[in-house]
Amino acid sequence: MLPVRKLTLSSAVIYLFLILGALVVLYPFFYMVMNSFKFGPEILHAPTRLPSQITLSGYVGVFEKLNMLLLYKNSLIIAVSITFLNALLSALAAYAIAKIPFPGRDQLFAFMLATMMIPGVLFLIPTYVVMYRLGWVGQFHALIIPAAVSVYNIFLIRQFIIGIPNELIEAARLDGAGDLLIFFRMILPLSRPVLVAVAILSFIGSWNDFIGPLLYLNTPDKWTVQLGLYQFQTSIPGENIQEIWASMTLITLPLVVIYFALQDQFVKAFANVSFK
């Protein structure tokens, strides 16, 4: 017998609280977008009031002064490269670990899981030294190559591939298909849901990354959106205030669009975390 759920007084109170929570969550976004359409003096002197006059000058300024298109391009190059490589290489490793019983597989997988426990801060300095010696500092691939495959994604994809029946794979083998063919023709298409989740996590992680670009991309022509915004904020305090709000809105926009388009996969990608 399921508990009967009715619209009672207590559920009205619950909805009231939920709406209140939603307003608290949404207000800062509203505040950001609202201020991005104001003139500079109004942002400084009446930041909480609605714009008395709507202007796009902040948005125009962003493209003129901050070179927003270049920042977008740099961020996209890095994020798309990482997303593509990571989904592909993590899926390859996940397939091998899920379905090919090569000697040493279980030990390798146990080792992989153990590496997840190592806090990232340990790698910060020595990886920089390695990049410095390789002469990669200042280049995109200093960010892309180390992020080209990740244990966490291998783990997520493996959990999914394990559920694909072995009979399917054996049947393909009997028909003469090799592992490469099986991977591209069968495993990849079947794993679409988990690959979307992995791709979302990689893309958002890379797009929002700050410390990586801060360490490795030290010339303005290589800056990403996050680093560009930071530099823009700190370079001339008080000035360019219109452009700051406009650029924050523009940086957040692509993510919000992707998020709303793929929200179920997105929440699942995060919630998967709890089921391990």
């Binding site: 017998m1 399921l2 508990p3 759920r5 559920s11 619950i14 939920l18 969550v25 800062p28 976004f29 950001m32 201020n35 930041p47 909480t48 290489l89 993590s90 490793a93 091998a96 670990i97 090919i100 019983p101 090569f102 426990m117 190592i118 806090p119 801060v121 340990l122 790698f123 910060l124 300095i125 020595p126 990886t127 030294v129 410095y132 190559i145 244990v151 592992d179 797009w207 929002n208 700050f210 410390i211 801060l214 360490l215 996050q226 930071y230 904020q233 700051i244 924050m248 957040t252 919000v256 998020y259 709303f260 929200q263 997105f266 929440v267 995060f270 919630a271 975390v273 709890s274 089921f275």
Partner: protein
Amino acid sequence: MSNAVMQASHAGAEINKLQRFKARARQYIWGYLFVAPWVLLYIAFGLYPLILSFYLTFFDYSFVRPDDYIFVGVGNWIRGVTDPLFWKGLVNIFYNQSIFITLNLGIGLLTAVMLYKTVYLGRIFRTIYFMPVVTSVVVLMAIGNFIASPQGPLQSMLMEAGILKTGIFWKFSSWLPMPIIAVINAWKWFGVSTVILLAGLYSIDTTYYEAASIDGGTGPQQFYYITLPQLRPQIFFILVLNVINGLQMFTEVFTLGYDVFGGPSNQAITPVLYLYAQAFDRSNIGYASTLGLLLALVIALLTIIQFRLIPSE
């Protein structure tokens, strides 16, 4: 059956076995090839840096003179353990995290229970609560900074209500930055806790509640004796995750515009900010490596304590 036939069939079985072995070996080679990218990249950007990091802790090393390694023994370790700024960073982080984790778990639990009890619109609320999770730390800290500033909506509201006399420049206060960053972070991250706890709530067998209702258990009693214990794995997971990530906080304080030592009274210094300062401001690479290892030890210690204190099954 003649001897010759038996020998022939035996030889056939041998050939069969050999073929099967070859087929399996071919498959294994693909297996090794498929995991090779991870193995190679982890050796280059995981294992090697880890060994290098440990090695560097015994040297005075700087990018200013990249070919000189000056051996200092355990000097960096002693300096790290006795460095007041490293400890100040740890104290700040504990101060920050105790508030953040309380808020994060509290709000997460509250919203998860409320969403569990609603029939309609749950998905819309979940979507909204998850929005800050998707947004970058740089953007959210900038917005949070403006909203909490003396000209921002919060303080002006409090001033109009007469609660505040003058604006508070909290970034320069010696004790306010950490709690305010904790509140901004709780606002950013509680959506993850909500989703994890909500999944936990849905996995609880409803017959527990029915049995408790029959025995006359009240709502709060049911929450305390059924819901909370049943959610233990999820709560434990959130705690471990928060401690590991929280201790490595950097971008939050860095983008607020403090100097690399976290302001005049180091009110916003964190261990990773201090490590950054030593490495990239002072170019003390060996010492920064030591600080990284010390912090990793603290994190490992806390994680072990958590595993001991909270049996998660």
